[in-house]
């Protein structure tokens, strides 16, 4: 069984599975139960001046009958007093000294306010603090949360204030509601951040009630944009994590990856792209703390199958595999191949290729009244669409073709000193009807 323990900027965690600062980490009782269930750490729901929330505060996007493909909230930071939270932090750390408690913080933008609260949570026993510069709803209207994270100078300055007060590591939680995440990460680093956490939620309207015309969640007769999370945001989060991991300016800055994580595969992907720990919220709001059992078991089994003794061996292994488009091999050839024995004759690949891609699949009705499909090899550009659509596992595979082509990037192709010839592309003629 592989060793799942990690060390992130000096903090030892029994495993990389942390709960994100959110409703599942609202109280000490919840966090204690989460640690019992197997979570290695938790980021306490953001402390600051307690707020009053609206009642209706979550909404979701379901996809084809699947619940909570995406999830949105307009809940603010803690609505409980700082004193109560501090007592509970102390109690949790006493009961679970091996587990990591990071406390998320958000106060008004002056150094005294930050110093005061950092001192108090450190005294309560926090292993680290996380500066919430990401929350996109409500708090941002009060000059906090993403209002800070969207301005690199603010991010840098407040991080510097926090670092001046803190003796424990400082995490900066980044908002994805910007154009280039590396700018925000660089600002955090220049302010002295020990680590970054990302992504926070994405500005969103999950839908509109078609009877009342009020977007969701409905609060009286209005709504407000919320922070989007859940499986839908994972690809966006992975891209941002990878960008920071690959940026030479922030190289080595520890990352706590967040965004749509629900399974051990998700965890492995975030770690491969450079995360040391991961943070989970929506999946726990959907299924409860016990999902960590499958994550731990699955990740461990996976590491064993790869012959890795520690999860640390996995970290960052995919970072160098992300490159610019211009550095890709344009002479890498794949073509679709259909396993006729597995085909169930649904015709989905045919119509997808015909209408949505490159007209490289033929179809006919056979004598026994089934749809037979086949790849028109000369027209197949290897785009993958049919293999993505096919409902049968392993029926359509993309197969690499070695046709004597030379590895060549776009930049090489443009240069005077080409390494070889551009392999001919399938050409699609323009025919409208029979014309």
């Amino acid at each position: 069984m592989a060793d799942l323990s990690v060390n992130i900027c000096g903090i030892e965690s029994p495993n990389p599975f942390w709960l994100a600062s959110a409703p599942p980490t609202n109280t000490g009782d919840q966090i204690a139960r989460a640690f019992d269930a197997g979570w290695g750490g938790a980021v306490w729901k953001t402390l600051g001046d307690p707020v009053e929330n609206v009642y209706s505060r979550y909404s979701a996007v379901d996809l084809n009958g699947q619940k909570m493909m995406g999830f949105s909230n307009i809940e603010l930071i803690t609505d409980r007093s700082l004193a109560v939270n501090l007592v509970e932090i102390e109690a949790v750390k006493k009961r679970h000294p091996e587990n990591v408690v990071i406390v998320s913080l958000m106060v008004e933008s002056n150094p005294e306010a930050w110093d005061e609260i950092i001192t108090q949570v450190e005294q309560a026993g926090a292993d680290g603090i996380e500066l919430n510069f990401g929350c996109p709803h409500g708090m941002s209207e009060r000059g906090m949360g993403s209002a800070v994270g969207q301005v690199p100078e603010y991010t840098c300055d407040i991080t510097r204030w926090a670092k001046a007060s803190a003796t424990v590591p400082v995490f900066v939680k980044l908002t994805p509601n910007i154009t280039d995440i590396t700018v925000a990460a660089r600002a955090a680093k220049s302010g002295g951040a020990d680590a970054v956490s990302l992504i926070n939620t994405i500005n969103s309207i999950t839908g509109v009630d078609l009877d009342s015309f009020i977007p969701r969640p409905v609060v009286g007769n209005k709504s407000s944009h919320g922070g989007y999370s859940g499986p839908a945001v994972k690809p966006i989060a992975l891209n941002m994590v990878a960008a920071i991991a690959a940026d030479p300016v922030t190289e080595g800055l520890p990352i706590s990856g967040i965004g749509g994580i629900a399974t051990w595969q998700d965890v492995a992907e975030f770690i491969l792209l450079g995360s040391t720990t991961v943070q989970v919220c929506t999946a726990v709001m959907h299924h409860g703390y016990r999902i960590v059992e499958g994550m731990a078991e699955g990740l461990s089994n996976y590491l064993d199958s790869k012959g890795m003794a520690s999860v640390n061996e996995l970290r960052g292994r995919a970072v160098a595999k992300v490159t610019d488009w211009q550095s890709l091999d344009i002479n890498y050839i794949v073509k679709a191949e259909i396993d006729q024995d597995k085909c169930i004759h649904c015709g989905l690949c045919y119509v997808a290729c015909l209408d949505g891609a490159h007209q490289a699949i033929g179809a006919e009705r056979t004598q026994d009244d089934k749809t037979r499909v086949w790849i028109i090899d000369d027209l197949c550009v290897g785009c993958n669409l049919c293999s993505l659509i096919c409902p049968v596992q392993g029926c359509i595979e993309m197969v690499e073709r070695e046709l004597g082509q030379t590895h060549m990037t776009w930049n090489e192709y443009l240069s005077d000193d080409k390494p070889g010839e551009l392999h001919p592309r399938p050409k699609h003629g323009i025919t409208i009807g029979e014309a």
């Binding site: 084809n64 009958g65 004759h345 649904c346 045919y350 749809t371």
Partner: protein, 446 residues
């Protein structure tokens, strides 16, 4: 929009039809559909309903759209959803079978996708401009209703003449109650009425109203007269109390009040009527229920899924047996059968023959015959220009025209007894041809 079909007293216990889907159930099931291109389910439907199309509409919660998609192809989509042998039609063709997965439950989705309109008060279809033509439809069963509904939508006046007390034909009187109850059939007929069709009940053409009068009063006539009762087998003792036509039994069950406690029932036959009768008898609490069939399981005309249902309902199948006589004094006490077997006949043709001295006695209190309905020869033979084949079926061309240029026919009287959906397809095709002919005659006159 989500209304459950009405149930009747006859639906107590194991006779209640499957409940209609809840919105959640329908949503999950609809999203299982792969939405195939050139979908095999649509190809397998005699009325070529765009199955993936209406399922997609259900998936995206457009139940007006799903109803329109279904009903434009098949105006009796609500009853077909319940009585169609989907296992051998649409669902049987579902590609998920090839994935070794449960096929899409198309029948129940179709009920979900039509009920709101058919049993609600939404009038989806507006009749076209009146044509001034009147058409008579003989028989208000599925073929006649489908024909009449289509003609009414096209702007014609339509009068359905029906001999029974209630309209709907076999949908009302003859389908197994666990597939569809009588009230649901009658509510669907109401939907057809709302399309502008007039129905005259208890009006037998030939006795209550003369065919010649119909030819005077109407521009065209569609015959959807179906089949007659199951004729007697000519056995000794067939006049005893407790001997019945299985179709009459099914009709009685649908009317309610049939109690089979303590009865031992034998049903003779191996087709769909036999299987419906035994299953209902078993579910009504009969002590023993036998299906007596002269051949083996493989040769039964009943559908495999119906056979399975009969077996799990507790029916005992007695194969390779034929009835010889019925014994009893006043009422049935036993059915005497003999064994049957194939013997090598001349020139390699197998012949079914009785096994000598193989008689045995089945102690039963009821005997039902489900050995095939008789054709309406007497009625049909009297119609000028309407010819029947050797099997008594009305001969029609591809447009369902008989030899009489003003008479069309469809449904069981043409195909000898098939599914409701086949009758609907006939009725609709005939209606379109009648409309074509009347309009071209009009055009010729102008």
């Amino acid at each position: 929009m989500h209304q459950t079909a009405v149930t009747t007293a006859a639906n107590a216990g194991g006779l209640a039809p499957a409940p209609t889907m809840t919105p959640d159930e329908a949503l999950v099931e609809a999203h299982r559909c792969l939405m195939c291109w050139d979908a095999p389910c649509t190809r397998a439907c005699p009325t070529t309903i765009d199955v993936p199309g209406f399922i997609k509409q259900i998936a995206y919660d457009d139940l007006i759209g799903s109803a329109r998609t279904i009903l434009e192809s098949n105006i009796l989509g609500a009853s077909c959803a319940r009585v169609c042998p989907t296992e051998v039609l649409c669902a049987g063709a579902c590609v998920l079978n090839d994935l070794h997965e449960r096929p899409i439950d198309i029948g129940r989705l179709q009920a979900y996708g039509t009920d709101g309109v058919v049993f609600g008060d939404i009038d989806l279809f507006k009749p076209s401009e009146p044509t001034g033509h009147s058409i008579a439809v003989v028989g208000a069963g599925p073929a006649g209703l489908a024909c009449g509904a289509e003609l009414a939508r096209l702007g014609h006046d339509v009068v359905l003449y029906d001999a029974n007390e209630e309209p709907g034909g076999l949908n009302t009187y003859g389908v197994a109650s666990y597939k569809m109850d009588m009230a649901t059939s009658l509510r669907e007929v109401d939907f057809v009425r709302r399309l502008g069709v007039e129905i005259r009940q208890s009006t037998a053409v030939g006795s209550d109203v003369a065919m010649d009068d119909l030819l005077v009063d109407h521009a065209a006539i569609f015959l959807g007269v179906g089949l007659g009762p199951v004729p007697p087998l000519g056995l000794d003792g067939e006049g005893l109390d407790g001997v019945a036509d299985a179709l009459e039994f099914i009709a009685d069950v649908r009317a309610g009040g049939v109690d089979l406690a303590g009865q031992r029932v034998a049903v003779i036959g191996g087709g769909n009527t036999a299987i419906d009768a035994v299953t209902q008898a078993a579910r009504l609490g009969a002590e023993r229920v036998y299906l007596v069939y002269r051949r083996g399981r493989d040769e039964m005309k009943a559908y495999p899924h119906d056979i399975e249902r009969a077996l799990t309902s507790g029916v005992e199948f007695i194969h390779w047996s034929a009835p010889v006589r019925i014994e009893g004094s006043g009422s049935v006490a036993a059915l005497v059968c003999e064994r049957t077997a194939y013997s090598g006949g001349g020139n390699g043709v197998r012949e079914l023959a009785a096994v000598p001295e193989s008689e045995y006695k089945l102690p039963v209190t009821m005997v039902m015959r489900a050995t095939g309905q008789e054709k309406r020869r007497g009625f049909l033979d009297a119609l000028d220009g309407v010819a029947t084949d050797a099997g008594g079926r009305v001969i029609v061309d591809e447009n369902f025209r008989t030899g009489n240029p003003r008479i069309w026919a469809g449904g069981d009287c043409v195909n000898g007894g098939r599914e409701v959906v086949n009758a609907v397809a006939h009725g609709k095709a005939a209606a379109l041809d009648i409309d074509r002919m009347l309009r071209s005659d009009d055009a010729a006159r102008e």
